[in-house]
């Protein structure tokens, strides 16, 4: 058994967030009281079904969609995979556009499509990390079926202009509508997500990035869009996702999302101020840089570094002090590869390798930020001194 962890300062919420107490309570209750299979016809099953549907309605309300427009998946990666792969079922020729800074689940899904005869274009981003709307217009062609642009980036926190993406797509599309999908995993619960106003056809969500449990996510799908299911079997989730549904995971998901939405105003203003305080405390150090500066960003994310100092060495120094941050995204198990997101923004590779992601959560305290910058300052000085 691993020993009890030391006191920690957790600044890696974009990798995963601690379960919110309200989510834990709801899950514990559901594990006790709703052990049935929601597809079972008896009281046990129907109790689980009723709870599941109530939570679905709650989540749908938060998103401003109807509950029939929300299907549960095992997480964000699966929801993204479903949307991408479904394009292959619609026949060729087909063309999809994904932004160059998407999560690997979108990019690898697009690679798979490319191997199956679908043309794939990568929408470039500016040096601030925002997608280039003018380039989008040029990429759209008659056989374009899907445009997928994330709502906010996991590494930089840069918020994409989804309303303008949709507007541009609608302006350029022909008789056959082009589906617009947004991976909103990092945005959900942190910034408003007006899916209906934006007019997107689909949005991907994951519970564990916002203080819900791992193993559950959702796809909000505008009614009328019936993509081919990815996981086949039973007829759960309107036939779009087979497999026994989990009332306790859904309960945790809805509880976390509900709590965050209720407290969003007080939380994120405070968190954004802390994020900026961190940048200010580090700004005078030699070679300091902040990626995505100037673009609208999630209130909790800062992607920063110091020219000439590898992110890995900073990450290790912080970890030794019990401070958890990340370099790049958390999904590529093992090796740290240069971030495709920062490369797409045109950053030179040395700067990419120097970039740290610091992502705050609703409970992050000023003292934790101060401690983080103190450790970073000391480490930067030590490394610079050693170099001279």
């Amino acid at each position: 058994m691993p020993e009890a962890p030391p006191p920690r300062i957790y600044l890696d919420h974009n990798a995963t967030a601690p379960l919110l107490p309200v989510a834990f309570e709801r899950m514990a209750a559901a594990l006790r009281e709703l052990p049935g299979n929601p597809s079972s016809p008896h009281a046990f099953g129907q109790a689980a079904r009723a709870a599941l549907e109530a939570e679905r309605a709650r989540l749908a309300d938060l998103l401003g969609v109807s509950r029939r427009e929300l299907i549960f998946t095992s997480g964000g990666s699966e929801a993204n995979a479903l949307v991408l792969r479904a394009v292959a079922e619609e026949g060729l020729p087909a063309h999809v556009i994904v932004s160059a800074v998407e999560h690997p689940s979108v990019l690898r899904g697009a690679d798979w499509l490319a191997r199956h005869g679908v043309a794939v274009s990568h929408l470039p981003v500016t040096e601030r990390g925002e997608v280039q709307i003018a380039a989008l217009g040029e990429l759209i062609r008659p056989e374009t079926r899907l445009v997928s642009v994330m709502a906010a980036n996991n590494e930089t926190g840069v918020i994409q202009p989804i309303a303008r993406v949709v507007e541009e797509v609608r302006r350029r599309q022909g008789d056959r509508p082009i589906r617009v999908h947004t991976d909103a995993v990092q945005a959900f619960g942190r910034i408003p997500l007006p899916l209906a106003t934006w007019g997107v056809d689909g949005a991907t969500l994951a519970a564990h990035k916002l203080g819900g449990p791992k193993g559950i996510g959702a796809l909000a799908l505008r009614l009328g869009w019936q993509p081919a299911p990815l996981v086949l079997g039973g007829k759960q989730e309107r036939g779009l996702r087979a497999g026994t549904e989990s009332a306790f995971l859904v309960a945790g998901f809805a509880a976390a999302a509900g709590w965050l939405h209720a407290h969003a105003a007080e939380i994120w203003g405070r968190v954004a101020a802390l994020r900026d305080r961190l940048a200010e405390q580090l700004g005078d150090l030699e070679g300091f840089f902040l990626n995505g500066a100037g673009a609208p960003r999630l209130p909790n994310t800062a992607n920063l570094g110091f020219d000439g100092l590898s992110a890995e060495s900073l990450l290790v120094a912080l970890d030794l002090e019990g401070i958890a941050v990340s370099a790049g995204s958390a999904c590529s198990s093992g090796a740290i590869e240069p971030s495709h997101v920062l490369l797409a923004m045109g950053l030179p590779e040395p700067r990419v390798r120097a970039s740290l992601r610091i992502s705050l959560g609703p409970a992050t305290q000023a003292a934790e930020i101060d401690r983080c910058s103190e450790v970073l300052r000391a480490q930067v000085r030590r490394l610079r001194a050693g170099r001279r």
Partner: protein, 381 residues
């Protein structure tokens, strides 16, 4: 509710308290993402590794053979898709038994639409794959054979060792996949003897939590991922791993294995006592098979639809199922029951009693009379 009265353990089982306790810290302070490189991430990574090794020991496979998934359905999808996405020769064949779970049946149907030649292996009235027919279907162009270990609706055990022997003799390149969701933690999975290549498992059918399962690669067959992205699970299944679910899954499996030997006598006696009791109701049609496991009893009362029987049993506190839970909300006879020769009326009247370790001989003293009272009421309808 009294767990003795829950007779729908093939649909889902109760989470074992020991499994919950073991996994609970991963809903609390040990919340890290196993892919994160800092201490919290490493801690979660170690927990997943430890659970993987534990499960691997129970199954007698190397740890890297285990690919954690979101459940049995995804495991079945990955098995079939994963094999047929690997470089294939045109016109290759997939053989699936006639009584597979919808996760295999529907995936096979999708593959058929994509050009794979899918053929059904018929079963006997006893719910067992017809070995002679299988042998005729087998040829070197068979890429994969999928046959479950224990059927979810009938509880019949398949002759996996015979199937495996035939597969490897007549289609040496074929991958032998076994959906062992209903057998896992109940039956011994002698995969080596049966020459099984891929095994699908689900946690929640074996007192683990919902939302987690595994595909076990007993042999290093070439497999392509079905969920792509961050490259977790050695690239075979992307998506943030679920340490809570994985730890609870492994612990539930460990507990089941520990009590397995001691349980065998009680399981057989429990089943026998049901059969003895049911013999007193000649109007009930019991599904019989020489390959029955002691975990499922399928029966019908043909004048009445299964829903009515279920309802009356529920009034006595007994929870059972009609057909399998995945398609029991619509009134169509189960394909599986038709495949073993039940008439449509019999199939529509069928209910399933399915048991777990929480159903004990002692509990039958109150469970059987409750069942009897329900049948008395049904007789008067």
């Amino acid at each position: 509710m009294n767990p003795e009265f829950y007779l729908d353990n093939a649909a889902t089982t109760m989470l074992l308290p020991e499994a919950l306790e073991q996994a609970l810290p991963y809903l609390g302070e040990r919340f890290g993402n196993p892919s994160s490189l800092h201490g919290l991430g490493m801690e979660a990574h170690r927990a997943v590794k430890h659970a993987r090794e534990g499960l691997a020991r129970l199954l007698d496979v190397p740890p890297q053979a285990i690919v954690f998934t979101s459940g049995g359905t995804e495991s079945d999808n990955l098995a079939l898709r994963g094999v047929f996405a690997a470089p294939a020769l045109a016109g290759e064949r997939l053989l699936v038994s006639a009584i597979e779970h919808p996760a295999v049946r529907e995936t096979a149907r999708a593959l058929a639409a994509e050009g794979v030649r899918v053929e059904r292996i018929p079963v006997t009235r006893g719910g067992v794959v017809e070995l002679a027919r299988l042998e005729k279907l087998l040829a070197p162009d068979v890429r994969m054979v999928s046959c479950m270990a224990v059927n979810n609706e009938l509880g019949t055990r398949q002759p996996l060792a015979d199937i495996g022997r035939l597969v490897k003799a007549h289609a040496p390149r074929a991958v032998f996949h076994v959906d062992a969701v209903q057998a896992f933690a109940k039956e011994r999975l002698a995969w080596r003897e049966a020459r099984i290549d891929l095994l699908s498992l689900s946690a929640h059918k074996a007192h683990g939590p919902k939302g987690v399962g595994a595909l076990v690669r007993c042999a290093p067959v070439p497999l392509q991922p079905w969920l792509r992205g961050g490259g977790q699970e050695e690239g075979l299944r992307s998506g943030t791993e679920n340490p809570f679910g994985i730890v609870a899954f492994a612990e539930a499996a460990r507990q089941a294995a520990a009590r397995h030997a001691a349980q065998q006598g009680e399981r057989a006696a429990y089943h026998a006592r049901w059969l003895e009791y049911l013999a007193g109701f000649p109007e009930l049609r019991l599904y019989r098979s020489e390959q029955a496991t002691p975990f499922v009893i399928s029966l019908a009362y043909p004048p009445l639809p299964g829903e009515v029987i279920l309802h009356h049993l529920e009034q006595e506190g007994l929870l059972v199922s009609t057909g399998s839970a995945c398609h029991s909300l619509k009134r169509e006879p189960s394909d599986v029951l038709l495949a073993v020769g039940l008439s449509e009326q019999e199939a529509l009247s069928s209910i399933r009693l399915s048991f777990s370790v929480f159903n004990t001989l002692g509990g039958l003293d109150s469970v059987l009379p409750a069942f009897g009272r329900a049948v008395e009421k049904l007789r008067r309808l």
